[in-house]
């Protein structure tokens, strides 16, 4: 019967099951023609018979093969016959050859496969109906595919059916009784993740998979990336959510909302309930890999702490009142307009969030510029990567990284500066480790011994363990050696760079004060190490630099970024695969929030407000006159709030009262304002200082795009309705309308169309293109309709590369007898930023509190014991944490994270900042540490106000 024309469904983007072609693809440009089951097939040279057959539509039975891993050939299920060849070769480990005639099915092959399956099933529980993998079990599928009808060996022989189940890991179980020892999990842990936590213990019949040396998963080296679970063809490794809820029914491709890698995921659902997140094999950023956060830590989106009703209050000491959206918008607009009337148009502003979509960020900055009528807009990228924007724009001409993530696989020497990718960007960290295990050289420049310095099957050639705050001295010394020893790429410099600037820079860098021997004492890095590292990098065919917040969050963050760009130009390492300057962006949409015009001095696409033509284009499109003067940066807003001039702040999804430095200063600023509006999922630390709370929506509840660290714009797709009833872009538009500047879009795709219309680098971007390509790297325009994987190929965006001199100016933050240690801060794998999301998941099992890492000699000198309470005091404040004595630290340097508000890591950090951008100097704070027995005064006060504010909730 035909369906009625009245049938209708909202167009949710859904995809079918992910197909596995069995073995990896070949990049060869030469092709091979052969015949498979009578069909002519043409594939790249180096393709396996299994993959060639799959490409022609025939899935050869398999158990140990998956295209995520190298072919292994152990299960003997994928045997085929090849004319003119004896025996039955495994199709996964046999590559195609010209003229080959392959038969994937024959009576002899069928008998062999059935026999193999009989053996497997003779030692496998027959509980398919109650098994969590029922419906998603390759062993079950293969039994069906080979026509298994009986098990001649019976089930009473020796078996493994009584093996104990390990459910110690927070997110998955390991049931050894269901294991067929195909070793896909072991290989996934090695090849994809690079942790080597799993192994096959015993031989022959006694073989079994174990974590580390027979530990439980929880106690092993396992990092819960989930690669083994995706690889497992049985129910041996299964997500606990699947055990609890059953198999997902639908899937939607979306993008992770955690770090700047921007992994593509399949959100697998039952109705509008998220069952699991599975990394998307076709995802260009992650190629089917994930980390513990993106893979498992999504429970926060449905956590009981979510606030889903708008709330208002007259003052921050009053109880919150739940109101309708209309009442919330009316209250807020009235209050903001009253402030502007009393204190002037520029007395209010807003902050965009690097966790929100491009479209949401775009409408917030538009709201501020058009409805508030000023440029007091900033973003949390101010406190992480603003120096990247300044430094790369100055030297190369564009405020963005130059490569794809895949580019690392062509690098011969990798330099990692102030970044800890295996913790902060784990999926890319795993990819980098793959290349390092293949033999690429590695130089790590970091005060701490990060995992990359000495990981399983890889070791850094050099670890330049510099003193915090001396980055520029080190980068200058490296460049000095290259000039001194004439290792520079003269051809590249002459063809691609501004030679006048290069001449000035050469004179600058030749100065003896930048010789390794001169900076040795300042940096703590031996001169011979600096010279050897410089030689290794300069002499590499492809040298690639990756850097993180250990570069930017310094008083000379911008200088260091320029120093890095100088080094890349000096050695000719730009404009092709395998090289480049690669900023590792902290949050999921740091690149995007910067691209979208979140800074107070520039419009979307990094165009300065003083540019009349650009401003006119926006004025015409938006129908409003724009203020041509730059507005306040985030720290300026806080300073001006304290001095009584800045009165109102709209904060989109950022927790400045936890994440920003010198928290007591931030809290004083928030308290001084007359209207603080927080749009968030939870009662964040900042929301405790707010007058209006607008409930935000999680990444599962809205459509949009995120732009990752490689400039890749990826789709975020709605898989459930917003819990509050409104997506965040809708909230901002409604608030703008209430303020008297109507904004209305029927879908975020219309916002992207506006972005494309007004921003040359995005002119080719549309949702239709993203649906077609999966993702696209900007610039995407008429000159590059499919996007731009590698930038600056023939010339730099600014024309000629600019060597900017980078004088080393020591930070004002010095250690002395009162504050003899230097504190540096960072993050760890299981938690994310302020922890608002990850603290509301089972990731707490991995990291439940921030600790102070301290070198054994510093601890002993102070009588500090491992895991005991330790006080940390700086010029800004004082807090208390537990000590973790660690030889990863160098003497004189201590380290902590800022994932838990009560630990008060940012009570200690100072208001020092980068000279060019005011990016805070989180990475250098002079402190003292000492044994204590009680929390600090700040912590006591935090605890009291936390309880008081929670009591004010409805």
């Amino acid at each position: 019967m035909n369906s009625s024309t009245a049938e209708y469904t909202e167009n949710w983007y859904r995809v079918g099951a992910e197909r596995d072609l069995g073995t990896k693809g070949s990049c060869s440009e030469d092709t091979v023609e052969l015949t498979i089951d009578g069909l002519a097939v043409c594939v790249p040279e180096g393709t396996s018979i299994m993959r060639a057959a799959a490409l022609s539509g025939t899935d050869i039975p398999k158990l140990c093969a998956t295209e995520d891993l190298d072919a292994f050939g152990s299960c003997r299920l994928c045997l085929v016959e090849i004319e003119g060849r004896a025996g039955f070769p495994a199709s996964c480990t046999t590559n195609v050859e010209p003229g080959m005639v392959v038969h994937t099915q024959s009576n002899r092959v069928a008998i062999l496969r059935r026999n193999v399956m009989e053996l497997y099933i003779s030692d496998h529980p027959l509980d398919c109906l109650s098994c969590p993998s029922n419906g998603d079990c390759q062993l079950q599928d293969m039994a069906g595919a080979v026509g298994l009808r009986e098990v001649r060996y019976g089930y009473r022989g020796a078996n493994h059916l009584d093996e104990a189940k390990d459910d110690s890991a927070p997110y998955f179980t390991f049931d050894s009784s269901k294991c067929i020892v195909c070793s896909r999990c072991v290989r996934a842990c090695e090849e994809q993740q690079g942790t080597f936590a799993l192994t096959v213990e015993g031989r022959g019949f006694d073989s079994r998979i174990v974590a580390s040396q027979g530990d439980s998963f929880a106690k092993s080296d396992c990092v819960s990336c989930g690669a083994c679970i995706k690889a497992c063809p049985t129910a041996t490794l299964v997500e606990k959510s699947v055990i609890e809820l059953g198999q997902p029914v639908t899937a939607t491709i979306t993008t992770c909302a955690y770090c700047g890698v921007g992994c593509s995921f399949r959100a697998e659902m039952q109705g509008d309930k998220l069952i699991r997140m599975v990394p998307n094999r076709a995802g260009a950023a992650n190629h089917g890999h994930a980390c513990v956060k993106g893979r498992f830590a999504f429970g926060y989106a449905s956590h009981k702490d979510r606030i889903n009703t708008p709330m208002i209050r007259e003052s921050i000491s009053e109880p919150w009142r739940e109101v309708s959206w209309e009442q919330a918008f009316e209250f807020t607009a009235k209050r903001l307009k009253a402030i502007q009337k009393k204190y002037g148009r520029r007395s209010i502003g807003g902050i965009t969030s690097s966790r929100c979509t491009n479209e949401e960020v775009f409408v917030v900055q538009k709201f501020i510029r058009a409805a508030m009528g000023n440029n007091n807009v900033d973003t949390c990228a101010r406190v992480c990567h603003s120096p990247t924007g300044y430094g790369l724009k100055t030297t190369l001409g564009e405020s963005a990284g130059t490569q794809t993530f895949d580019s690392v696989m062509e690098a011969d020497v990798i330099m990692v500066i102030g970044a800890n990718p295996t913790d902060a960007h784990p999926v890319f960290g795993s990819r980098m480790k793959q290349r390092l295990r293949q033999g690429a050289g590695l130089i790590v420049i970091d005060p701490r011994a990060t995992e990359l310095v000495d990981a399983p099957h890889l070791k850094a050639n050099f670890h330049l363990a510099l003193r915090p705050g001396t980055n520029v001295a080190v980068i200058n010394a490296l460049a000095h050696v290259i000039i001194d020893e004439q290792l520079q790429d003269t051809t590249f410099i002459e063809q691609r760079c501004d030679l006048d600037a290069f001449t000035i820079w050469c004179d600058f860098i030749r100065d003896k004060k930048y010789a390794p021997e001169s900076v040795e004492k300042t940096t703590g890095v031996a001169a011979n190490q600096l010279r050897s590292a410089a030689r290794l990098f300069a002499q590499a065919a492809n040298g690639a630099i990756y850097y993180g917040l250990g570069v930017t969050e310094h008083s000379q963050g911008s200088t260091m970024v320029m120093g890095i760009a100088n080094l890349a130009m000096l050695t000719g390492n730009l404009g092709r695969e395998g090289v480049g300057v690669n900023p590792m962006r902290g949050q999921n949409n740091v690149q995007g929030s910067c691209d979208m015009g979140s800074f107070p001095h520039e419009l979307p696409g990094y165009r300065h407000l003083s540019d009349d033509i650009t401003r006119a284009a926006f004025e015409q499109d938006w129908g409003v006159k724009l203020d041509p003067e730059p507005g306040y940066r985030l720290p300026n807003m806080f300073d001006s709030a304290i001095s009584g001039e800045f009165k109102g702040l709209y904060i989109q999804g950022e927790d400045v009262a936890q994440s920003d430095p010198d928290i007591q200063h931030v809290q004083a600023a928030l308290t001084a304002m007359e209207c603080v509006i927080v749009q968030d999922l939870f009662l964040s630390e900042t929301a405790k200082f707010a007058h209006v709370f607008l409930p935000g929506s999680s990444f599962l509840e809205k459509d949009g795009t995120f732009t990752n660290a490689e400039r890749r714009i990826s789709p975020v797709r709605k898989v459930m309705q917003p819990a509050s009833g409104m997506a965040e872009w809708e909230i901002t538009c409604a608030l703008s309308t209430a303020m008297g500047y109507p904004m209305a879009y029927s879908h975020p795709s219309e916002i992207m169309d506006e972005i494309a219309r007004l921003t040359p680098n995005f002119s080719g971007v549309s949702y239709a293109l993203l649906d077609e390509l999966g993702s696209v790297q900007w610039p995407c325009n008429d000159a590059a309709p499919q996007g731009t994987p590698t930038m600056h190929i023939d010339e730099f965006v600014r024309g000629k590369g600019y060597f900017s001199p980078t004088p080393y100016v020591p930070t004002d933050e010095r250690s002395n007898s009162r504050f003899p240690l230097l504190l540096t801060t960072g993050r760890i794998l299981a938690q994310y930023n302020v922890g608002a999301q990850t603290r509301r998941t089972a990731n707490m099992a991995f990291h439940s509190e921030d600790v102070l890492e301290i070198h054994p000699s510093d601890a002993e000198m102070r009588g500090i014991e491992n895991h005991a309470w330790v006080g940390i005091k700086s010029r800004s404040g004082e807090t208390v944490m537990r000590a973790l004595i660690s030889t990863k630290m160098q003497p004189g340097v201590v380290y902590t994270t800022f994932h838990h508000p009560e630990s008060g890591a940012n009570v200690i950090t100072t208001d020092n900042s980068d000279w060019a951008t005011n990016c805070p100097e989180y990475k250098v704070t002079a402190v003292q540490a000492y044994p204590v027995t009680a929390p600090s005064q700040w912590q006591e006060s935090f605890k009291r106000s936390d309880i008081a504010q929670r009591d004010l909730l409805p």
């Binding site: 001095h601 940066r633 001095s643 004088p807 900042s913 000279w915």
Partner: protein
């Protein structure tokens, strides 16, 4: 009142120190002034100029010259 005079001066001196690598004072001053004009809110520039009226002598040489070039 915007950002405090003490902080504005600290920021301006920091910019000056980072842009000063031995070139002529006027060239450094041009760069410093251009940077401040491009990135600072007008209120901060006005406050800093007002503060400089009585305190210019205490500034570094290049910053003394740069103040005169501010918008």
């Amino acid at each position: 009142m915007t950002v405090s005079n003490e902080k504005l001066t600290r920021m301006a001196e920091q910019i000056t120190a980072n842009m000063n690598y031995g070139e002529d004072t006027e060239i450094v001053a041009d760069k410093v002034a251009d940077h401040i004009n491009r990135f600072w809110d007008q209120r901060m520039i006005l406050a800093f100029k007002a503060h400089a009226d009585g305190h210019r002598e205490s500034f570094s040489k290049a910053l003394q010259a740069a103040v005169l070039k501010l918008n």
